[in-house]
Amino acid sequence: MSVKVRFFARFRELLGTDIIVDKGPEAGMADLVREIARQNEEGYKAVFDEQGRFHEFVIVMRNGKRVLISDVEKIILTDGDEIAVFPPVAGG
């Protein structure tokens, strides 16, 4: 099955965007994002903590719907899924 991962802002600078990946069935969403992020150390650290979990402030969407960080590890991907990963910002 084919899924697309989009990163935004700083995450996009480090990891790129519109990444299309072919995965077998039962692929986990969090695992996929970790796999992609590992390609850039700084990018990985921006999204994940030392235990490999999403930083709690990261916004994750699946097909336009927010996925709470507490639920992120439970999501199993389906064909055509689009995952979006955003960093909220704080400046002003």
């Binding site: 935004f8 802002a9 700083r10 996009r12 930083h55 709690e56 402030f57 916004i59 969407m61 336009g64 719907k65 927010r66 960080i69 979006a84 955003f86 960093p87 909220p88 910002v89 704080a90 400046g91 002003g92």
Partner: protein
């Protein structure tokens, strides 16, 4: 009642929403938390639109490093309190409105009295601690909270309506890490305009607000995205138990 001068000043926007609309702006009081990157463009445009009373609060002094983006302040203001500089400029920009420029460090003890009976709060802050505080006050006073935040060429904005939309804590249960954020003026200029537009629409009762929608702007690619936001029924600030 609008004076002859006001009818003339706002003539071109009265074409959009009538004298009634302008009266609504004139009777309104908006609280702007921060006179920096976001606070500058928001306050300027709400002032020229004729929002009758603007209260702007900041605790800082103008520094040279502010001047790449904080367009209310000039070289001659370096060393001056931001609120003094902001008050001066806004009164020149529109002498027909009331500007309260208050030097204060917004905190638990003073936030409610600072906001007073304002009709809405504009988030022009640079940290989430104060944003969360303003969010709670907006909930308590049942007034809108116009959130905005930026970094680099990227920004976000949403309009929080207590009792209706998710609050800031629903949308951002955890704050992003504190950082000395990179910024160029065009970004808070852009996000500030989104916030100011939201304020104007809210006060006029027109159009569709960013209610339940988080607008994400990536200036580097000139792309806007929208994230639907949802209330968290267990939210500490606005959830069932509150």
């Amino acid at each position: 009642m609008l004076s002859e001068r006001e009818l003339e000043r706002y003539k071109r926007q009265i074409l959009l929403f009538g004298e009634d609309g302008q009266e609504r702006l004139k009777k309104s009081h908006i609280f702007i938390a921060g006179a920096g990157g976001l606070g500058s463009p928001v306050s300027i445009y709400l002032a020229v639109a004729g929002v009758g009373t603007i209260t702007i609060v900041d605790r800082d002094v103008v520094e040279l490093t502010n001047l790449n983006r904080q367009v209310l302040h000039y070289d001659q203001d370096i060393g001056k309190k931001k609120t003094e500089s902001a008050g001066e400029k806004l009164r020149i920009i529109n002498p027909d409105i009331t500007v309260n420029a208050i030097e204060a460090d917004i905190g638990e003890k003073n936030v409610s009295s600072l906001v007073g009976s304002a009709d809405g709060i504009v988030d022009a802050m640079d940290n989430f601690d104060t944003r969360y505080l303003l969010n709670r006050v907006a909930q308590a006073k049942r007034i809108p909270f116009f959130h905005g935040a930026i970094s680099g060429l990227y920004g976000q904005a949403t309009t929080i309506l207590p009792g209706t939309t998710p609050c800031l804590a629903c949308i951002f249960p955890k704050a992003p890490p504190k950082e000395v954020f990179p910024v160029i003026g065009v970004t808070p200029g852009f996000i500030g305009m989104i916030q100011a537009t939201e304020v104007v629409k809210y006060l006029l009762g027109r159009g569709e607000l960013l209610a339940g929608r988080l607008l994400i702007w990536d200036g580097m690619y000139a792309r806007a995205e929208e994230i639907k936001t949802e209330r968290n029924p267990d939210c500490d600030v606005c959830g069932h138990g509150t």
